[in-house]
Amino acid sequence: EELNTAPAAGQTQLSADELSGQMDNEIKARGNVVVRRDDQTLTADWLEYYQAKNRARAGDHFTLTQSSSRVSGTQLDYDLANRTGTAEQPDFAAAEGLRTFRGNGERAEFLGRDKYRLLQARANTCSPGDDSWYLKASSIDLDYGSNVGEAHNARLEFQGVPILYTPWIDFPLDGGRKSGVLAPTFKTGSNGTELSIPYYWNIAPNYDATITPGYNDKRGAMLGAEFRYLQPDYQGEIATTQIPDDHEAGRSRYAWSAKHSQNLGSGFNLGYNANYVSDDDYFNDFGSRQDIASGTNLVREAWLGYGSEWDSGTFNAQLKAQRYQTLQESTTPVDVPYARLPQLTASANQELGAGLSANLQAELTRFTHPTKQEGSRLVSYPSVTWSLDQSWGYLRPKLGVHYTRYSLDDFGSDKAREVTRTLPIFSTDSGLYFDRPTTLFGSNYIQTLEPRLYYLNIPSKQQNDLPNFDSSENSIDFAQLFNENRFSGSDRINGANQLTAALSTRYLDDKTGSEQLRLSVGQVFYFSRDNLTLNGTTTERSTQSSDLLFSAAGQLTPSWRFDSLYQHNQELSKTEQYNLQLFYTPTPGKTASIRYRYDRSTDVGNADGTPGPLRQVDIAGQWPLAKKWYAVARYNYSLQDKKPLEQLAGFEYNDGCWTARVVGQRYVSSSTATKNAVFLQLELKDLGGIGSNPLDTLRLAIPGYSKINDIRQ
């Protein structure tokens, strides 16, 4: 009965065909010997066990399995207590349930719990018998405590061809590395051909750094460095790319970016987000499609925030300093935004009971600008709302006073002056909810009908004597229809005596209530003709109502989704804009989408940068071609300019243990220039990728794109 009781911790249980020994000293066993201790199980042909030293010598053929691994070989000399020892001709495999990692070598050393070293070793992460690639190294250290593996003077052989040598390389054992970047990365395209070898340095459990020396055939030597830290209360990163001597530009180029966010406790938090590049063309020369597209204004901001919440209200305040580095382009000059050095904002909300609640939005900002009027602005907007909330609907009248005081510096001929603007704002939001069971295309739904009325009244006031620090006109959408102000920022407040009417209907799955389809229509009816423009002058409105807005979006079946919007311009009685997006994603790895977009006038419509129409079609997809083969493609064509804005095509091959990707991308980088980029990547399962990583680009270009090595073959 001792046999089948659970072995106590530290107890050694040994069984064999033949056995001899001396009490307290040694045991010699022969004939399929099995030794068990805690999570360790050792099987061997013969075994000598020295009890005092907990040391076992086993031979001709042994297999030692424990929580993190299974090692077999010819000779073993092992201490069962401290889990140290050596093995000859070892075959190593990570334990069941862990990421596959298999290797063999001349010798293996056991360096304590979950720590192993394979000498003159060969290893990969493929299933048994699959040697399509392997890492050959003089030593491979595996630490299943911190889940990091390290190889010393390692050579990577792919299909028998050595494709990489590195004196030192480390890799994740739990597939946990950040972007899976492994030495070396290789890029080619309009930015030149670039080879860089990142070194990932795991400084401490939550501090790591990546140093990436590289060479670009057009630009010369490059050095990238990124330092990241992650602590319970604060986290952040600092990254830079340095090109000390750019051959083509004949000067040094660099980019810096630093992010930090910290929770100081008791409601306080602080942080900064700073990005800076050496010159206007930096992204054109070094950036990817995303960098170029969204890299015009680089923010540099720091903030200190406080937030507190109690049962019946909240209070938030933030002190922020922010400015932008605006990268000018020769063809389309960009308006440099004001810097807010500093800006103090506060907002408070307090429920007063019986449905009443008070709200305050306040802001004090110092605006500076190289060429425009500078000054500071105080905004205080207290308001009281009474809300009646019932299951059949709600009624929410709100009354507030928007007070703004400018103290403007001297500017050209204008002397420094104080200007104030006080506008009462009254609005009432109301809505009803109707339901009924219904069927659509044969399945049952609960259909809702939700009329909503929103009345807004703000006295009309000329504001062309006020500067425009941060106001711009919002594009019309269903959120904007129910917004108090057509302009964002606080410099322009449109006069209003209007009623917004909207009706939306939703089809809810009758078992779970999840929304499958939503159709909405909405419009604003103006009772006064006064209309404020962005430069502050009031003009006469020519129509009694705003643009008419329709939207329809839904996911009637798990694989089909659509999204569409139509906006009719009442003034010009023309279509203002419409777009239709259709997505078909039956299974991961199979997705196709088509999007069409028309906009009557966008500010960069025509080639010369003047406002003009935008007509675009965007077809994208990822589809399996054959077993293991996938094609990815995207074609974004501007019908207006009769030229493609982005073309992307590529193939992906997933052989279970490695994935190869070849992706070519050609995109518009300015109104006159296009760029291309080629991504070649070999991704080794759970180890990392070599070459350039196209995954971010693919994720953005192809809606519904999924990584094929995550899909079960």
Partner: protein, 150 residues
């Protein structure tokens, strides 16, 4: 322990007979043999003494048990089997048939265990594959409480 050798052997049982011719005595009926710290229980014990005075004890029974204190430690060594043959001159005890030897918390299980009380060495045979232990020997060693951390 070693001092047991010099101690007198005391045997009591339900019945005992002396066979002068073969020079051995036979005891039957929950026989208890004690010599110093050594103590054997069995259903039937045959003690033979050769002319030089060397004794051999053969104990049989449903379960034969023996118990003896270790030298210099207050730990006991216990054993059981269906048959025990103890030869004084060679200090060897042979336990046959579902044999077990327990010392402190360590345990050895097998079909035949040959144990030398002098050198404290033992050999174990697994016996037939169809036997209770399926021809296998098992040793259970408790964690080293002294010195080494388990």
């Amino acid at each position: 322990e070693k001092a047991d050798q010099s101690k007198p052997i005391e045997i009591n049982a339900n019945s005992g007979t002396l066979d002068q011719l073969k020079g051995h005595t036979v005891w039957e009926g929950n026989v208890v043999v004690t010599q110093g710290t050594l103590r054997v229980n069995a259903d039937r014990v045959v003690v033979t003494r050769d002319d030089k005075g060397n004794q051999t004890v053969q104990a049989t029974g449903k379960v034969v048990t023996f118990r003896q204190k270790m030298d210099g430690k207050d730990e006991y060594i216990e054993g059981q089997a269906s048959r025990l043959d103890y030869t004084g001159i060679t200090n060897t005890a042979v336990l046959t048939g579902n044999a077990r030897v327990k010392r402190g918390e360590d345990l050895v299980i097998g079909d035949v265990i040959t144990y030398n009380t002098q050198s404290q060495t033992y050999q174990v045979k697994g016996g037939a594959a169809t036997g209770p232990n399926k021809g296998r020997i098992t040793v259970i060693l408790q964690p080293q409480t002294t010195g080494q951390q388990p």
